[in-house]
Amino acid sequence: MTDACPGVPLIELRDAAFGWRGRPAVHGISGGFAAGSMTAVAGPNGAGKSTLIKGIVGLMRPLAGTLRIAGGARRGLAWLPQAADLDRTFPITVLDMVAMGAWRRVGPWRRFNAAETERTWQALELVGLVGEAGRIVGSLSGGQMQRALFARLMLQDAQVLLLDEPFAAVDSHTADALMRLLCAWHAEGRTVVAVLHDLALVRRHFGQTLLLAGRQVAWGPTAEVLTPGHLAAARGAPREWL
């Protein structure tokens, strides 16, 4: 499904550091996300998980090291921000916000045609928000907002999905439904990277894990990364775990 050579990672980092205003929030990241892999990014609060995701998405340049994204994949990146990154008081309907997912195809000026409208309704149907389509985003609950963001992500139809705390402030029923969507996308051959706090969930569903604590603690198969030693090292970083 992707034009990357087998064995060559889709996204590759070499001793990369990312941060704001010249101050690194996370550094020493070396490794790659293989095409079709499913990776969890875990670590204590302030470990630089969101910063790393934002760096890969292109919201900032690496402060040091290199970030290489396989040709063509840059346009195929889709990002699910934390709900707090949005202005939820903005007066827009759920339908319109989800329709933003078509931006790469429609852009600022092209017509939003019948096919795109159809896709928008399908996405709303899959996350169970058809009945809320006409509501203002500010009136949604935390779980409904997250479902709407998933619908927008679906509309982007990207090969690489980067999700920042997709299950934060979400009830367990919604989390299960959204997790099933993630697994389905992974089964379709898409590359999934998700920032997560729930280590049990990571062990159950994610083949790869990147453990951060302001730096890279470990990156590899989940069973080899989430060891007591690595977790203690991450906890031992001068920041609070969860």
Binding site: P81, D85, D87, F90, P91, M97, M100, W103, G107, W109
Partner: protein
Amino acid sequence: MTALDWVVAPFADFGFMRRALAGTSAAALGAAPLGVFLVLRRMSLMGDAMSHAILPGVAAGFLLAGLSLGAMLLGGLVTGLAVALLAGLVARLTPLREDASFAAFYLISLGLGVLLVSLRGSNMDLLHVLFGTVLGLDDAALLLVTGAASATLLTMAALYRVLVAECLDPGFLRASGGGGAWAHMVFLVLVVANLVAGFQVLGTLMVVGMMMLPAAAARFWLPTVAAQIVLAAALGVAAGIAGLLVSYHWNLPASPAIILAAGAIYLASVACGPQGGLLHGLAGHGRAHFR
């Protein structure tokens, strides 16, 4: 005199009233939609500060080249951007916060503008710049304000999706190919252009009222941004008509009457608007509590 006469006769009988109506309507149609986005971006006071900041540039352009959109727009843009840049620079280099340094620079700018106008013109000129000459609009002034309103509406239609996306989720827009910073600059230029164009109609001090008051009022009536834009423009036009009529029948100065009419609409909206208005909030308190 019937109510219809009261409303229609002043405009039917006097050319200057028809010109004033066209001028205020154009100012409302251009400025109020911009105001909706200023409210949504939490930049309401920015418009006010800008109207002061552009005064010396507009005055310099006016005194050097007369009533020329190009000269006044250029002058207003130069001083407006200079104030924004200097305020940002001071906020970055010193412990003074950005809002305080912004206030300091736009007050300096206002002083400089008043000085420039009084140096070259009479007191009458100064009053005209500050409070407008809505009852004495000539062809050039009308063309200026209608041209600016047309350009504003067309540009906003073209940039509408980018402006909405930039407000709602700027990170998403940047990750999807960007254009947000560019649209923001165009938006600020439109704000300055409307302040410049409106100054013949309402004066530099009052024109911001046409930008902010209808926009803030519309927010209390309708839930979506598109509907708020249409309503804000309509409320602005209504305030213009009401203000002109009050000014005509009771022999009051027109420009403050128009802004006060817009203010009355705003206060009524705060009280009665269904989208979070005070009375509505009281009536729905129990329900909202348990939702």
